[in-house]
Point group: C2
Chain length 358, copies 2
């Protein structure tokens, strides 16, 4: 359970999956009715595809938490992660909520990071200090516990003062360049959520630019931690696409490379297989149209070594050691640029997701 | 080498990847200039991303083949498959082309199916007889030889008489429902090509409907053989989406399920993890917009056992034995329907694509 003691202003972003978990639906309604003051999270059961019962359970968890914190139910958001289709153990949750609430402390952020872990092998948390204020965040994800999803939850708090509109704007911008630019397996959760709570306890209002930088830093940091802890991953793939026809094209190309199983298996094998990267780039579609790509203008580098340029392969041999593979693709056709983080695809990924039996 | 002795009419479809191999570019030009009479194919080297030299090599292969067959160069199509970025061994090819041409026979179709194999474990061929005519085809693909691509090549011939427009129309329709509805790993080749040659040797013109059915049957058969021989695959996933808002929505939903690594690893583990299927369906995007999906109207079956309906899970337990997993998703919102074939994602897939080092 996370709460703000001074009254907070909040914003949240949820999965765009058309199948939305009950806690996502309930939290959306609560956000429409009130500013959020607290967040209650559970792992193990996603409470997705659970029908009327699932909805009633999510409402009950929010109501019970609100009563314990002396809040209105709509001031509480509910986040769940885990197996799809299983019902919440609602009796155990309502029974133990008073224990969780009683255990809350001012310095419990790291406890939250641990409490929401599922198959995560490391707790994920980040902070950034600005001029007189602090931004802190926790996240879980990309280890998949029950055979469910690359479910990602993140909560970011700050003592900076924001209006609701500012909170939503800043969160949208920061998430667009962090959590929305990572992939482990291309699958999209029914439960993903990122919540920002801002309560102004810092007093002196800081510049918006300063806050934006701090928020971006925390979101980037958490997003990278999620990828680094990706299921079965042995390295991070840092993809940078520059000089695309537009930012949308750059995102599409970077995303196509980031989700290519052939690129990801080659990375696992430490094979500098740049042909797979070009092929994935050429397959990218932006807004229903192929991206603009002229192979004669493109330059492709692995870890700063040029492998393809002027329409033909070079004799370059990249250093494939280390646990980061940097892929830089310069399309040479415009001003669009985008980054993306991915992982390699390994036998451990398959084992983790295949061998568990429901 | 495949050729038609009576003058043929032809049509071809190529990969939509923005990075196109030299043989694809040259074959496109030849198709625009003449009706194709012969096809020359090589495996091992894709001749993609090879610059001006690659283009000159593809032109040279067509010209040499044309000279041997007494055809004009633009009457010959060139298809290559294999490693991206490596040059064709043009000397060996031109030296041995006379041997290949001398070995051609009227009954050599199965030899072609074997000759174009790469990591394919089985040759792929199919025939269908119509009223007085025959359609035959060969294909290679979905085993990836060099660490290149799920490159697919197919050649279909018939003694049915067609106009060029009919050939193109029929091929487009048949490919749309066969080769364009299969996936092994979601990656898209720089070299994919399907060619149809029709020479009318059967004499009596058959009904167009009859020919369409025969062509579809051959393409469906070859497409299924490619999936069944998919890299590391232990089963075929047959996906059927019905009652979608449109055919485009149905294709998008079926494709999203077919390419989900989580669905594919669960299939490998014989885990009836229907939640992953719902999540993949909900993530589908058609023409840049989320598909229409109301979870309360959807029904999901594995191997004919209802697992989700009326917005909630059932107590059904599907039979997960066998080497086919049938996934039927009824969206209950319209008249659109589509099928898709996929494979499971296995440790062998990762090994095959990671362990090979260029």
């Amino acid at each position: 359970v996370v709460r703000s003691i001074p009254r907070a202003v909040g914003a949240a972003m949820f999965t765009t999956n058309q199948v939305q978990a009950a806690p996502v639906l309930v939290s959306r309604e609560h956000l429409g009715a009130a500013q959020p003051q607290a967040i209650v999270m559970n792992s193990g059961v996603a409470n997705a595809a659970t029908g009327a019962r699932g909805r009633a359970d999510a409402v009950a968890v929010a109501a019970r938490t609100a009563a314990l914190l002396d809040l209105r139910p709509e001031e509480v958001l509910v986040l769940s992660t885990g197996l799809i289709g299983a019902p919440l153990p609602i009796g155990r949750i309502t029974e133990h909520l008073p224990v969780a609430v009683a255990a809350m402390t001012d310095t419990g952020g790291l406890d939250v990071a641990e409490a929401i872990m599922t198959t995560d092998t490391r707790p994920k948390h980040a902070t950034a200090a600005g001029a007189g204020f602090t931004v802190g965040g926790v996240a879980k994800g990309s280890g998949m516990i029950h055979p469910a999803l690359a479910t990602m939850l993140a909560v970011v708090t700050t003592d900076h003062a924001l209006t609701p509109e500012q909170a939503a704007d800043h969160l949208h911008a920061a998430v667009g360049r962090s959590f929305n630019r990572i992939t482990v397996d291309g699958d999209q959760s029914t439960n993903d959520a990122v919540v920002l709570l801002a309560n102004g306890a810092a007093g002196a209002p800081a510049g918006e630019g300063d806050f934006r930088r701090a928020l971006q830093q925390v979101c980037d940091d958490l997003a990278r931690q999620i990828v680094a802890d990706g299921e079965g991953a042995t390295l991070i793939i840092e993809i940078r696409v520059t000089h695309a026809a537009s930012e949308a094209d750059a995102i599409a190309v970077a995303g196509s490379i980031a989700t290519s199983n052939l690129v990801k298996t080659a990375a696992f094998g430490r094979d500098p297989n740049w042909g797979r990267v070009l092929a994935a780039a050429g397959a990218a579609v932006s807004d229903g149209r192929p991206v603009k790509l002229d192979v004669d203008l493109a330059e492709l580098r692995f870890n700063d070594t040029l492998l393809f340029g002027s329409g033909a392969p070079t004799a370059g041999t990249p250093d494939m050691g280390g646990n980061v593979l940097r892929i830089d693709l310069d399309l040479g056709v415009g001003d669009g640029a985008a980054g993306y983080l991915s992982t390699d695809l390994t036998g451990d990924y398959v084992r983790i997701n295949a061998d568990y039996t429901t």
